[in-house]
Symmetry: C2
Subunit: 257 residues, 2 copies
């Protein structure tokens, strides 16, 4: 049995009454950090469970704008890429039953009803490249953190599934969207980019072939040696030539079987 902390009622009521019922937005925010593909998750004050950041759509607000607003409320950053990866609406898609403890007045009961209603959720994914980005929790969250995508089983409800879908969509978008611009730091090494590709596509790619393929596309600018200390040969530093990168993207669908 979950319960709603009393200090949340007031603010949440104000927020919620401006929003459409039964409709939510969930944002899977990816970053590439420490050679891992990571996802931002927050701990809800309701039920202590870990979820992907999400919110509701205001009555006179575009859904894309809503997604951006929700994202901003979590990360304080305008992100480069924000894409839908699907809409999820099983009939039983709702919070587990909540305890009605502390819900004696009318307002509290309304809030209980709101939270436990059935939600159809629109999934967006977003990419964030600034790894020093400061995180702040909204009043509806008691904690916020990055997890490796492989650790997503600690997510509750169906948010595990959402992350899986988001990653699949991200992989599909890799050829046609400026994904590298969204995830790689300003400067990076070839092995870093290689590992990122492998993480997104979830398969191994031959090192030498990857290197050749990427260099042939001519959107990388060589900057020299990485100053980092390594226990082996130090990799070269690169940065992305944005214009060249963008024009190298395409959506040409092949016949391949």
């Amino acid at each position: 049995m979950l319960s709603i902390p009393s200090h949340v009622y007031e603010e949440m009521s104000l927020y919620v009454e401006r929003c459409l019922p039964h409709l939510s937005i969930d944002c899977v925010i990816f970053r590439y950090n420490n050679d891992q593909l990571q996802v931002l998750i927050v701990q809800s004050v309701v039920g202590d469970i870990w979820l992907v950041p999400g919110g509701y759509v205001q009555k006179a607000e575009d859904i894309d704008v809503a997604a951006r607003r929700i994202l901003l409320e979590q990360t304080e950053l305008d992100n480069l890429i924000l894409n839908q990866f699907g809409t999820f609406g099983s009939a039983d898609r709702s919070f587990p039953e909540l305890s009605s403890q502390g819900a004696h007045d009318m307002k509290s009961k309304e809030m209980l009803n709101w939270i436990t209603q059935r939600f159809v959720t629109i999934g967006y994914y977003s990419l964030i490249r600034d790894n020093d980005q400061e995180l702040r929790t909204s009043n509806f969250h008691q904690d916020i953190k990055w997890i490796n995508i492989d650790d997503r089983d600690e997510l509750s409800l169906d948010h595990n599934t959402l992350v899986t879908s988001a990653r699949k969509k991200l992989a599909q978008d890799l050829l046609g969207q400026p994904v590298m611009l969204g995830l790689l730091p300003e400067t990076f090494t070839m092995p870093q980019m290689h590992r990122l590709y492998e993480l997104i596509l979830d398969r191994s790619i031959d090192r030498g072939n990857f290197r050749q393929r990427i260099l042939k596309a001519k959107f990388l600018i060589k900057l020299g040696k990485s100053p980092e200390k390594t226990s082996s040969r130090p990799p070269l530093l690169y940065k992305i030539d944005k214009d060249a990168y963008l024009s190298s993207l395409h959506q040409n669908i092949k016949l391949g079987f």
Copy 2:
């Protein structure tokens, strides 16, 4: 100024009060007929405008189930493929203003409010291969017909845009989903399949190369000569080896730039 025919109120009220507000589903139904990619459209009794078939989600109904139900209400057929192509929710996404003529009682006013509310719509596309399928109109539609996809500018609201998005998604799905099974008749000729590919991808494909490529995939079964009279060499008839076709599909994402 649009108006709602009085005979619609009763039935629509009953339907609508079981559904979630502000949320709709629109279905772009494709078929391949007469060497054209076609789309099913219906004429609403409200406003006489032409739209893609659509409806609402019942309060305890999966959205996928709702899409299937809505589809069934239009075509009486269980379709092979039903895929989301996106969710659309501009803040101003609603019917044009409706005349309140004939809306004197409470119920009528409620209906006006329902129809003119802001809708977030979930787009599904579906494929139908039976071209002799009988069409029936529901009571909310006065007419129903197939149009060529290039004639979609006669659609109202943003349904033109929906069809464009649906076709784009269909093209993306061509490699990984059994699209041919959904659109081609039981038996067909190589030129037919060739033209269908061109229509979906919206580009021309070399005839000879296409033929070789498809035959190499080994999911076609040759049946002999087409009995149809042609003014030139008659094409061969083929049918799809379903198992071979399904196992030839893949989602392998390449590195290509």
